[in-house]
Amino acid sequence: MLQRLWRHLADTLRHAYFHYSVILCIAILEPAERYVINSVVIVVVSLLVYATVVYMPGHVTMLCQCFVHLTGIRSHGDSVGQRGTTSATIS
């Protein structure tokens, strides 16, 4: 059963590689060129994945904080409290 699963996975991967190499014209390149192009693609994809996994959560959190600061949700609440107290003292 596990062997069949592995074989199915291997077939799917092989099909996926075949489709990718045919669509991007890698299938008709010479073997040396194919190694170079595939390694370039792998390097670029792995860099993208690394960047996404490591930097994306931090970046998204930072953007959320910026958004909140600019629209003044938290600081707006503080200023309302202060104005109320100053008006009380003047009057």
């Binding site: 190499s21 045919v22 669509i23 991007l24 014209c25 890698i26 299938a27 008709i28 390149l29 010479e30 060129e33 192009i37």
Partner: protein, 488 residues
């Protein structure tokens, strides 16, 4: 590999009307009996003259599907990758890091280069990789089944070696519409007899002792076949257009040529020295607009009237598979008093209920078309071309055309092949065989188009035309498709 489109065009599947496998009769459009006040012919027969109203327009269906966006983008990406790799490889070859196997010119001192252009870059880097898909050598009669000689390349397309094996494959790529490109009994015996009598070469042109009696017979047979007064034949199809147009049209005339005309028509038009204006493919409004402009304004600077206006169209366009809208063109030409040159290279023998071309297909009068041209290469299994028209036209061409004066006349076995096949199609000899082949071609056309459509391929053209362009787009797919087809 199919492009994987889910839906099929239902209109084309409905309109094929092939429920019992019979070829489609043209009387199916006459369901109501009357169209626009004109009485239709009795059931099973057509009138023969052009009927007004929507009859041919109902039957006329062409499709040129738009390329899906993602396929277009991926194709461009693929080509961009190949061009980039080509530049890298050229760089390596130039600096001697890699051995250069291409044919380069020897750069002599102080001489400008003779051959450098971008085309050689493309040939060297893109075409070379998949070169085994074209120019495939054949070792048998080029008929419906061919023996392809197997080739291998050990250095990725630079050099080929024959292995000595041959593969028997079915031929879908040649223009053998009616299957006459064969060496069997039907025409083979006559051709053998004529070769034994006349030999193979005539060694002279038509004007000087090269005009055999079988050439005369062929000329009159072609005229009978098409329904015109006279015809003249030329030994090469391309030369029929390029060498005869200069005899008909000269400087001071106007040629209105369709966007997608064949290279022979373009060359012939350019050789005439006339002004050429191109109108959009099959676009009658554009053609009428240009005709009207030409008649009103005259020649460009002097505004003198044009000496002649010639409209050049093809019956079936060989790269798109579309049909010319001949009834509309004929009515336009009669309205503006222009002349019509019809190139029936792919349609003669293959279109029409009697195989006489697009004029037969639309039911028009052959006298409406001033100059009918065609080739024998496609449906007749021979080589050469003809021009047919009025007696005056043919007499003029016999004296003034370059091909009649300078080219060697048609080889006798080829002439006899055309005579035999044309008689077969006309019904004079073997009437059953001729009719069977024409009907079989029609059925095959409809069936093939319908089958490809259902499997999701993108094909262009009119549903009646035997030319079926199948679009594959990506160069790697083209190569793999071709290799799989030949090896399977």
């Amino acid at each position: 590999m199919a492009t994987g489109r889910g839906e099929t065009r239902t209109s084309t599947v409905e309109n094929t009307k092939m429920s019992n496998g019979q070829p489609r009769n043209y009387t199916n459009g006459h369901k109501n009996g009357h169209t626009n006040g004109y009485k239709n012919g009795t059931n099973g027969k057509t009138n023969g003259k052009s009927e007004k109203g929507g009859r041919w327009q109902d039957d006329f269906e062409e499709y040129f599907e738009e390329t899906p966006y993602h396929i277009a983008i991926l194709t461009y990406l693929g080509y961009a990758l190949m061009v980039f790799i080509g530049h890298v490889r050229d760089f390596l070859r130039y600096y001697g890091i890699e051995q250069d196997k291409s044919c380069t010119e020897s750069n002599q001192e102080d001489y400008v280069p003779l051959y450098q252009n971008w085309e050689s870059f493309y040939t060297r880097n893109v075409y070379r990789r998949i070169r085994d898909c074209w120019n495939i050598p054949i070792a048998s009669c080029a008929g419906s089944h061919i023996d392809v000689q197997e080739r291998v390349t050990h250095d990725h397309g630079w050099n080929f070696e024959m292995t000595g094996k041959t593969l028997k494959v079915m031929n879908f790529g040649s223009y053998n519409y009616l299957g006459f490109a064969e060496n069997k009994e039907l025409c083979g015996r006559d051709v053998q007899r004529v070769t034994e009598k006349y030999g193979v070469g005539t060694c002279a042109s038509r004007q000087e002792l090269g005009y055999l009696d079988i050439h005369r017979e062929l000329d009159s047979l072609v005229a009978d076949f098409l329904g015109t007064e006279a015809a003249i034949t030329v030994p090469m199809g391309f030369a029929t257009n390029s060498m005869n147009m200069p005899a008909l049209v000269s400087k001071g005339c106007l040629i209105l040529s369709d966007e997608l005309n064949h290279a022979s028509l373009i060359l012939g038009s350019r050789l005439t020295g006339a002004l050429i204006r191109v109108y959009k493919h099959n676009d009658m409004k554009d053609l009428e607009h240009k005709l009207r402009d030409a008649v009103c304004e005259g020649q460009p600077r002097t505004h003198r009237p044009w000496k002649k206006i010639l409209i050049v169209v093809e019956g079936v366009y060989s790269m798109e598979g579309s049909l010319a809208r001949l009834p509309e063109i004929v009515s336009l030409k009669k309205k503006y008093k222009a002349y019509l040159y019809l190139d029936e290279a792919h349609s003669v023998g293959a279109m029409g209920p009697h195989g006489r071309g697009v004029v037969d297909h639309f039911g028009l009068d052959p006298h409406d078309v001033d100059i009918m041209m065609g080739t024998f290469t496609k449906s007749f299994g021979a080589c050469g071309g003809y021009i047919a028209g009025s007696k005056r036209l043919i007499r003029h061409l016999r004296a003034n055309s370059h091909s009649a004066i300078y080219s060697c006349s048609m080889s006798p076995p080829v002439t006899q092949q055309i005579i035999s096949t044309m008689s077969c199609i006309m019904g004079r000899t073997n009437p059953q065989e001729g009719r069977r082949r024409i009907q079989q071609l029609k059925w095959n056309t409809r069936y093939f188009r319908k089958g490809l459509h259902e499997r999701g391929f993108i094909i262009y053209g009119n549903k009646d035309s035997p030319v079926v362009p199948l679009l594959i787009y990506m160069p790697s797919k083209i190569a793999l498709f071709s290799r799989e087809c030949v090896l399977m």
